[in-house]
């Protein structure tokens, strides 16, 4: 779960960067930027949950 989360973080960022390069119109570009940010948040949640599980197990 941690690895998946850590991979989602740069995946979201690449989505943001791709939106800037590939999309010229403001609205779709904005939508894709926010979609990329959403993917990053998902990755962050996964990493946080993985660490929470590790901490709970070790205690």
């Amino acid at each position: 779960m941690k690895l998946a989360g850590l991979l989602l973080l740069p995946a979201g960022w690449l989505l943001v960067a791709s939106a800037l390069v590939l999309l010229a119109a403001d609205t779709p570009r904005g939508v894709f930027v926010f979609a990329g940010l959403g993917v990053e948040v998902l990755g962050l949640v996964l990493v946080a949950r993985a660490h929470l599980a590790e901490t709970t197990e070790s205690e």
């Binding site: 403001d26 948040v41 929470l52 901490t55 709970t56 205690e59």
Partner: protein
């Protein structure tokens, strides 16, 4: 007067900038005192010494390689051309500051400010790794921060990198703006602090078997509050120098910047004070002090571009984010952050960056229309996405790899004894009585 005379006329902006940069070490001193005060008494000498050591390591690594990767706007750089736009990715300056005249030019002032800024960023993770982070590991982690993470992001924001060019290439306002280092110094440092807290795990005895956290209060509130006051002085210098060097703001704007910095810190502190008073029945000194620093962090991005009333609003929100974030990390995510570094520097910093996109009004007509405001907001979002999607995994991976070769966490016995005795051989307060419960096995 000859041009080579030591009393040759000197640019007023450069002279003021030198004064502002001279104030920056007060911010480092403030953060060092706050981290020390928020830790345990048996690790106090270790905490304050570690602050000095990481500043030293950061300065040396920045001198050797950091600046060569950060560079200056318009300097030599590695770039990638995509769809006609030249994405400036990494500076290509010589190592050891070779070829750079340290003569008061903007480039030389940027080197000096960068050297102090990277030290400030390096102190931040000490807050989250308090009471359990080995000194050697602190140094090695700082070397990675000062040599890789910080210069790459600083290049993108401050040295004409692709984030700074968002306005030119994609009509996103002025491009990603971060005059005082909210992103480059504080969020980068705060995300490194998060990585360190994750990798180290919580202090022994912090969480019970049922997951409930134990309160481990800081040992010296006087240090914490005095550190806050010192930090204000340093922040006024940092925000002013950064605005002049990186945002092209006139030196006279330093008054607005100092007023906004003070107002943001003050309103953040009062917001934290009221929030903790309402939630816990009495105001919490540590969280209130952290709220103050959160206001300072948020102000770094916005201070040159907001009217004072908006700076108060930014501060109030930052002051509410900090204690809520501290509580959330502690209670719900089991992230043990004794210094509150993640909440103060990462969470409040991200709010400051977002606030700039929402509230900033630039004086030039080219960036004052509705489209420019929307574009600026999107540029800030792209910067935030880069921090979370690039900087966080990078700093996590670097510190995770480091942990394979240089174990970052102190041995169990060291944590029981305290880092002062275990790593330094002497405590911070040798004449003080140590309470026996400090040595109880948790």
């Amino acid at each position: 007067m000859t041009p080579n005379s030591p009393l040759a006329p000197f640019d007023v902006s450069a002279a003021l900038c030198i004064v502002f940069i001279l104030l920056v070490p007060f911010a480092a001193a403030g953060l060092a005192l706050i981290n020390t005060g928020l830790g345990r008494s048996r690790s106090a000498a270790h905490a304050i010494l570690a602050s000095l050591i990481v500043v030293s390591v950061a300065a040396l690594v920045y001198f050797v390689v950091g600046f060569s990767w950060q560079g200056i706007a318009g300097g030599a750089a590695h770039a990638l051309t995509l769809r006609g736009n030249r994405w400036n990715l990494l500076a290509a300056q010589p190592c050891f500051l070779r070829g750079l005249k340290l003569d008061g030019s903007p480039a030389s002032l940027e080197v000096w400010l960068g050297m102090l800024s990277v030290g400030l960023a390096a102190i931040i993770p000490l807050g989250s790794g308090g009471d359990r982070w080995r000194l050697e590991a602190c140094c090695a982690s700082t070397a990675l921060l000062a040599g890789i993470t910080y210069p790459i992001f600083a290049h993108w924001v401050w040295a004409g990198g692709w984030l700074a060019q968002l306005g030119t290439f994609f009509r996103l306002g002025r491009g990603f703006q971060d005059a005082g280092g909210t992103a480059t110094i504080h969020v980068v440092g705060g995300l490194t602090a998060l990585s360190i807290a994750w990798i180290l795990g919580p202090r022994r005895g912090k969480y019970a078997a049922d997951g409930m956290p134990a309160a481990i209060p800081g040992h010296n509130v006087v240090y914490i509050v005095f550190g806050c006051l010192l930090a204000l002085v340093g922040w006024c210098g940092l925000n002013s120098a950064g605005a002049i060097l990186y945002a092209g703001v006139a030196a006279g704007s330093a008054v607005l910047i100092a007023v906004n910095t003070t107002l943001s810190a003050a309103s953040a502190m009062l917001a934290s004070f009221v929030l903790t008073r309402v939630r816990f029945g009495k105001p919490d000194a540590s969280l209130t002090a952290n709220g103050w620093v959160g206001g300072l962090v948020a102000s770094s991005a916005v201070a040159p571009f907001l009217p004072p009333a908006a700076a108060v609003l930014v501060g109030i929100v930052a002051g509410m984010i900090v204690p809520l974030s501290v509580e959330w990390l502690d209670l719900h995510l089991a992230v043990d952050d004794p210094g509150g570094a993640i909440s103060v520097h990462a969470a409040a910093g991200l709010w400051g960056l977002l606030a700039l996109g929402l509230l900033a009004r630039f004086p030039d007509a080219a960036h004052s229309g509705a489209a420019a405001v929307t574009g600026q907001w999107l540029a800030q979002i792209v910067g935030i996405a880069t921090l979370i999607g690039f900087v966080l995994p990078l700093t996590y991976a670097l510190n995770w790899l480091l942990n394979r070769f240089v174990p970052q966490r102190v041995a169990r016995e060291g944590e029981r004894q305290g880092l002062d005795l275990y790593e330094l051989g002497a405590g911070a307060y040798p004449e003080f009585l140590t309470h026996s419960d400090d040595f109880l096995q948790r």
